[in-house]
């Protein structure tokens, strides 16, 4: 599956392991399910290799909360593009629990959602189907103005206006 990171296609060094796979490949960067993480928390956190976790969009991010920082990657799922629960999970992970690793979108990920996903904190995207890279590039620059403050640090229009007022008043 093609992976988009930093505006370019990129190789994926991560392996997903099934819940019933007995042992994890030593030294490899692996992604486990949240269910497995819950069951084997101590062992997994003690592992000496990059750890990733995949949350279903009904898994409670609150529970991962403080442990989030110990992962290098968290993947969130879009079972259908129209199911937007993972947007809330993403913002909570970034803005409330301070997660700074890779936040990856998986499932049905389409160019028309890229703007929303990036604003919610996603920075890696498993591309659902073979859209030309060009469509993804264009989607990166859909909107120059944004109206909401989120954790992505972009300055919303209301704040830009305040600066204009302040400059005019000077």
């Amino acid at each position: 599956m093609p992976l988009l990171r930093n505006g370019a296609l990129s190789d994926d060094e991560w392996q997903r392991v099934a819940d019933d796979a007995a042992s994890l490949p030593a030294g490899a960067a692996v992604i486990v399910s949240f269910t497995r993480f819950r069951a084997e928390r101590e062992t997994l956190l003690a592992r000496n290799a990059p750890m990733g976790v995949l949350l279903k969009n009904i898994d409670p991010v609150e529970e991962l909360g403080p442990d989030g920082a110990r992962f290098a990657l968290i993947a969130l799922e879009f079972p259908k593009f129209s199911d937007g629960r993972a947007y809330s999970q993403a913002r909570l992970l970034r803005e409330r629990y301070g997660f700074t690793g890779e936040l990856r979108a998986t499932g049905q990920v389409l160019p028309d959602q890229l703007h929303h996903m990036r604003r919610c904190g996603f920075d890696a995207f498993e591309l659902a189907k073979g859209e030309p890279l060009e469509a993804w590039r264009r989607a990166l620059h859909t909107f120059t103005a944004v109206y909401q403050p989120t954790g992505d640090g972009r300055i919303p229009v209301s704040a830009l206006r305040r600066r204009l007022f302040a400059a005019a008043a000077d």
């Binding site: 593009f81 129209s82 859909t142 109206y147 206006r161």
Partner: protein, 551 residues
């Protein structure tokens, strides 16, 4: 009026470009209809029985004459020369070609309009009291708050793929004219003990197949906390609203299932985490938006205008019109003029391009170029000098928008029904037309007094039948159109949902049935009682008895 600045202009232009690209990809087969559907819906484009339908947002129902002329232009250029005003303060064009949609949207963008978020599972066009800024009983102009919400909700990154559509309404008056208790979120402005304005926050109202009255989850919310509180509600809904069944996906079902108390707890808990943060509304930002809604430069006007008074005595039609369609304005010497888009026997809410142009001209000459759209499918000229009323009336008579029937039995709301809508069970517009023709006698209408009839072509309730004093719902019985009648619904502050009177009646008996209900009311009413008052006093029984009495 709100004017776009460079940011808003850039945003809407980018949105049109984005949609043009999406349409191109759809036409080229790069997008499947399934993938395209949510994208076109977020740009107001529906696929209907006969063609695409374009739904244009009229934020909080306010329009300039220039915008109105553009709507006329779009009606001529891309449609069949008319448009349809809806109960959601939107305008619908029923005959748009997919290829033309990006051009129509580009034309709209030239006058600071768009169709963004008029459909789809996102936060929809925010609606307000149509007398905002001019009503005597107003605390604050609700459009300031609608505009703040509109901006915050525009392409909201977290809340664009909600379980279901989401409708917010704001009223700036204690007298609710925006039906705030039947919206997903209703905001009702009030004052706290110190006299500071803020909001009562009502959640989980709605119509549709399971009508519910919203619950107050916060009795008073300070203004600067509005957006953080809304974000908290939306986050709880986005995470926990049901997605397994579209009929159970609205927030009203979540509130119903977990209870208003638990909903309040979850919202407040989320809010505690984000209040006072980046969404806090500083006073200067509020003021910056509020400046757009400053009153127009009113002139000193006589409160008593001789020509207006003379005509009132001489012309019965003008007098009737003053009585039902003209209401007091907060500025002395001015009046609010309501245009009836319900002339005898016509489809409710339709307007031709020529009528739109004429309204725009009247607005320029007599209403500071401003027009309002109401959720009862009518229009308003919000600032008319009392002395200009005769001229405005004559202009409206000429285009057929002066029927003196506001709030009366022929001022009917009807959804598109089987004439346009793919979901309909039965026709709605022709039923409205027949009732309106039967009750054409204006003297009789005025004698009957306030009576709101609302008609929906199916259980989705786009015609608000649940809150009609008389509600009419189209149902299908073995392939024939029947109509179920409800009584006693009301959308005001003392909101109530209608109760079914009895078995549904066949299409050819609906008008007789309404006649019978009205007769019962006239027989039962006491001095000064409106239809609703009488119904509330006597209940369904006498109405039912007469309606189903063997002939």
């Amino acid at each position: 009026m709100y004017r776009y600045d460079e940011y808003d202009h850039a945003f809407v232009a980018e949105r049109v470009a984005q949609f043009r690209d999406q349409v191109r990809r759809r036409l080229a087969g790069e997008l499947t209809e399934d993938e395209f559907k949510p994208l076109r819906l977020q740009n107001g484009l529906y696929l209907q029985l006969h063609a695409y339908m374009l739904r244009i947002a009229i934020p909080y129902g306010t329009l300039s004459s220039k915008q109105f002329r553009m709507l006329a232009h779009i009606a001529r250029r891309y449609d069949r020369g008319y448009g349809h005003f809806t109960t959601r303060q939107n305008l619908q064009f029923n005959w748009i070609r997919l290829e033309d949609a990006p051009d129509a949207l580009a034309d709209l963008a030239k006058v600071e309009m768009h169709a963004i978020q008029t459909s789809g599972n996102c936060i929809r066009n925010v609606t307000a009291d149509h007398w905002a800024g001019v009503a005597i009983d107003e605390i604050e102009d609700p459009r300031i708050w609608c505009e703040i919400i509109r901006q915050w909700s525009t392409v909201h990154p977290e809340f664009s793929f909600l379980p279901r559509k989401f409708k917010i309404a704001v009223t700036g008056s204690p007298n609710d004219r925006a039906a705030v208790r039947v919206h997903d979120i209703g905001l009702r402005m009030l004052r706290d003990e110190q006299g500071e304005p803020g909001f009562e926050v009502i959640v989980g109202g709605g119509l549709g197949r399971t009508p519910m009255i919203g619950k107050t989850i916060r009795a008073f919310l300070p203004k600067q906390d509005l957006l953080s509180y809304l974000e908290a509600i939306m986050r709880v809904y986005n995470r926990y609203g049901r997605r397994d069944n579209i009929y159970k996906a609205r927030i009203k079902i979540l509130v119903h299932e977990i209870g208003a108390e638990e909903m309040r707890r979850q919202v407040e808990e989320e809010w505690e985490q984000i209040r006072g943060g980046a969404l806090d509304l500083p006073q200067d930002v509020i003021d910056g938006i509020a400046r757009h809604f400053a009153p127009p430069p009113y002139q000193v006007q006589p409160v008593f205008a001789p020509e207006t008074e003379r005509l009132r005595f001489e012309d019965r039609d003008f007098a009737l019109w003053l009585r039902s369609n003209v209401v007091p304005h907060r500025q002395p010497g001015y009046a609010i003029v309501n245009l009836s888009l319900k002339p005898e026997g016509a489809p409710p809410g339709d307007s031709s391009a020529a009528q739109m142009d004429a309204v725009a001209d009247l607005a320029d000459a007599y209403s500071f170029g401003e027009i309002r759209v109401t959720h009862e499918q009518n229009l308003v000229l919000p600032h008319v000098a009392v002395a200009d009323l005769p001229a405005v009336w004559r202009g409206l008579v000429r285009i057929g928008f002066a029927t003196p029937n506001l709030g009366l039995v022929s001022d009917i709301i009807a959804c598109p029904g089987l004439d346009y809508c793919a979901l309909a069970n039965a026709r709605a517009i022709p039923v409205a037309q027949r009732i309106s023709t039967r009750f054409a006698d204006l003297a009789r209408q005025h004698d009957i007094g306030e009576l709101k009839i609302k008609i929906s072509g199916c259980i989705n309730a786009c015609g608000h039948h649940h809150v009609g004093h008389i509600g009419i719902l189209g149902v299908d019985k073995n392939g024939t159109e029947f109509y179920q009648i409800t009584l006693g619904g009301h959308a005001g502050d003392d909101v109530s949902l209608g109760s079914i009177v009895g078995p549904a009646v066949p299409a050819d008996q609906v008008v007789e049935a309404i006649e019978s209900l009205v007769d019962t009311y006239l027989k039962e009413r006491r001095d000064g009682e409106r239809f609703l008052d009488t119904y509330r006093r006597v209940g369904t029984a006498p109405f039912k008895e007469r309606l189903y009495a063997p002939a």
